[in-house]
Symmetry: C2
Subunit: 506 residues, 2 copies
């Protein structure tokens, strides 16, 4: 081998080594947020005071009888017009006793996450009814098979920290069958923390039977619950919903942690002004918190104050705007200021195609919510079409976006070693550059995220490789994962036992 | 007309009225940034101290003789090894005398912007050599005709607050012809503040002749300069570049405001560690500031500390990552902390296609830089392919992205009226919703941005309209603008006078 060939071969080896995917993740989930503060301290205080005035003077309507008794016992009063008022001191007492941090367990304990504080995690939360078909490029009704596929797809994605069923199996007409088969799809295909919703309180008990089988026996699930419930016990503006409240009681009984979601819509079920929206929505989420703590003090509840925006020209929900970004960031900031585990909905998009609109809307909304310190950022992966749709390609693209967001959140470590005064002097007085130096080499994999899907080639190379776009590249990766990843997290015996008790359709 | 038909007609009129583009812009350029602080106060101080130690102990190399004399007169000292040292007190004195805010004038005064403080403006700054062809969908060399087209396209876009030539006319081989024809394309096709670069100092005087003609006569340009210069007088790491320094002197002589750009690359010409990068890059941009103020105290200079990231696996420049987002945000924060007009480069992307990668990378980098308060965010419109490319479709899409970013920046006005305590009570005790109420109606156009390109339809409507993506929709809009907008901002007499003096090619 000539010296030139040997040199070239050495260079190629180095390049191949560098091109290989690093095993180390420089920006894993759970980075700290909070560097972005859309509201000042006094603005938060004013919004909080307004929320407490609403709870004290306007109160909540349509309180179910059982809840009414519990709330009256906890200090609420009746206004004589059918509404229940929450005195200021009652809400403050609730804030003291409420759970501040707790674990969302994975069936695999290494996948559990602790929520609260300033740690940020992305996960899902959708209930899409349409799936973006990978073959046709347009939407069709979501199916139970889709849900199984989405669950095993995200099982491989590092930045989906928990998985709430992202779509509704529209091919399952019976509500009990739907709830049962939804949870079955989750626990069969992933060991991450999972979450679902219950159409009726009566569906909780049979599903607990299934969860106990998966957990190893009767009563085992409740010891380390690896499924959480999404519940919207408050209907905006300012009233309770009876079915959802019943589900709350049943979840408390079975030790299922809850994400109590306020899903007001600006200009429809809450004020269109952003400040007014936040005041009402905060009051409503506090009403959920008061309820949960009146039923069971300290019971784990994610404080999910999700500001939703509608396009006031048409009345259609919109998830991808600057208003959505700042509202959810403010919601996270307020919840964190109260010391509560903050749930917000971001990384949403109104786009149907997996296109520049999709990327931009997801980019700005997810970064805003994450920088503000949202502990659990729901709806963050795969959702499209103003939450009506969900996409396999979207899931894999969003996972890479979250790495970029986490990298930004990780921030800048200002240490003597990193400041590199000596390294700079050495480079300037020596070779005149930093390439290949020890200081650079140490940072290369520790401090930089290298994307898999994002194309960093120059235009000619890109064109020669077929001028493919991100949607196209993501489709390949999604298909590759779906072709190869077929987890079976239930034993044969567990699967059999579940199928004997319940109507498992797939 | 029957009552039903009348009602329907009324509803259709209302819908049509609502669907019409609002004339009022709820989130114009110049929103205030600074709510995102990636660095703590003490971290900024530490980085600043390190930068000043670098200037004091390591200093700058390759200082041209004329500049050396001026710097020595202003307090610099020689280190005996050919480097010039800037004592701590000299830099602090520079910071005191440096221009803090000033106007970038448009030829049309109503388009001028004041830079400095915490106002955020997006504009361009590129020097792309490849244009994304609207017909073929791939790249070809950029031409002078492209530059004319880009200039008149952006002339219609509200969120390009100044226009630096975005591409290099690769079909103009002579450097003087290139510089002259570049400026001609700018002043012919827009009255916004414009900017260019000068290959050599000798090119400034003839271009000033052209600018004087456009301004109304000899000496008129200098009275209200509507063109700025992009100059990189410092070559990383820590030395001056002679040609660029010559251009600085010539711009000072002709009263051309300058953006002095430090364009270090992390891991190549500056440390790979983010903190070390910021320390060196800050020192280098301060060296430019010291130079400008030694030549002409208080001369207007944008403090353009642009952190550039390279992919350390390949050495290629990369503009769309989480590292880029946080580094540019930190740079803006540091410059603003120093009270200087901050220039950063964001809204960049490595994508070649106008796709989800494009949108996501632009979304996260532009939001980060804007929330951190970057006064002038360069490279923000149309740039693709790690700044190698530029796209017409990109320009119109980015303009809408900037509106979303500005909307997020505008934030949340917490006032009694906006908090809407009474409006909430009225809705809850009345109709049970906020649709159509006076409080909602007042907010509808005042507080919400309604996009033109972003598709908010439901999946079926989108599919029935041809399942088009954002790239496709943007192409239509870009073509429509280019077909209809043919400004002629030079009078016939001015145009003739310029063509008599200079070699105008188009």
């Amino acid at each position: 081998m000539t010296a030139a060939r040997s040199k070239r071969a050495g260079r190629e080896q180095r390049l191949a080594k560098r091109a290989a995917k690093p095993v180390f993740d420089p920006c894993p989930p759970g980075q700290r947020g909070g560097a972005y503060k859309p509201l000042t301290e006094s603005e938060i205080q004013t919004i909080f005071d307004t929320a407490l005035r609403l709870l004290e003077q306007l109160g909540m309507g349509e309180v179910p009888a059982r809840l009414q008794a519990d709330l009256l016992a906890a200090g609420a009063t009746e206004d004589g017009r059918g509404r229940l008022l929450f005195p200021w001191a009652m809400v403050e007492a609730t804030l003291k006793m409420a759970a501040k941090t707790f674990f969302l367990h994975g069936k695999d304990a290494s996948r559990s996450i602790e929520v609260g504080g300033d740690r940020v995690y992305f996960g899902t939360g959708g209930a899409a009814v349409q799936t973006l078909d990978m073959e046709s490029g347009v939407y069709r009704p979501s199916t139970l098979a889709d849900l199984h596929d989405f669950t095993r797809l995200q099982d491989t994605l590092a930045n989906v920290s928990w998985f709430t069923r992202c779509c509704v199996a529209t091919d399952v007409p019976d509500n009990l069958d739907l709830d049962v088969n939804t949870v079955y799809a989750l626990i069969r295909n992933t060991t991450k923390p999972v979450a679902t919703s219950f159409t009726l309180a009566a569906h909780v008990a049979p599903i607990i039977e299934m969860l106990d089988i998966a957990a190893g026996g009767p009563g085992e699930f409740a010891k380390r619950p690896f499924l959480a419930a999404h519940i919207s016990p408050v209907i905006s503006p300012m009233r309770f919903g009876e079915d959802a409240v019943d589900v709350v009681y049943e979840c408390v009984r079975h030790n299922i942690p809850m994400s109590c979601i306020t899903a007001a819509q600006a200009g429809a079920t809450a004020p269109a002004t952003l400040a007014g929206f936040l005041a009402q929505s905060l009051a409503e989420t506090l009403a959920s918190l008061v309820m949960v703590n009146a039923i069971s003090p300290g019971f784990p509840m994610i404080f999910s104050n999700w500001p939703f925006v509608i396009d006031l020209r048409t009345g259609a929900f919109s998830g991808g705007s600057g208003e959505t970004a700042v509202l959810n960031a403010a919601s996270a900031q307020i919840s964190n200021w109260l010391g509560l585990p903050s749930g917000v909905a971001c990384s949403m998009s109104d786009a149907k195609a997996i296109d520049a609109q999709y990327g931009m809307e997801k980019g700005i909304t997810s970064l805003a919510a994450a920088l503000a310190g949202g502990n659990m950022i729901y709806e963050s992966s795969g959702m499209t079409a103003s939450l009506l749709g969900v996409s396999f390609e979207g899931f894999v693209l969003d996972d890479e976006m979250h790495s970029n967001t986490y990298r930004a959140l990780r921030g800048i470590e200002v240490t003597e070693e990193n400041l590199g005064f000596d390294a700079i002097c050495d480079a300037v007085l020596g070779d005149g550059h930093f390439l290949g130096g020890a200081h650079t080499f140490a940072a290369m994999e520790r401090d930089y995220f290298y994307p898999t899907l994002a194309d960093r080639n120059e235009p000619r190379t890109w064109a020669q490789s077929g001028a493919r776009d991100a949607w196209d590249l993501a489709r390949d990766l999604a298909k590759q994962i779906l072709d190869s990843h077929h987890p079976t997290y239930l034993t044969e015996a567990q699967d059999k036992a579940i199928r004997e008790k319940l109507n498992i359709l797939l």
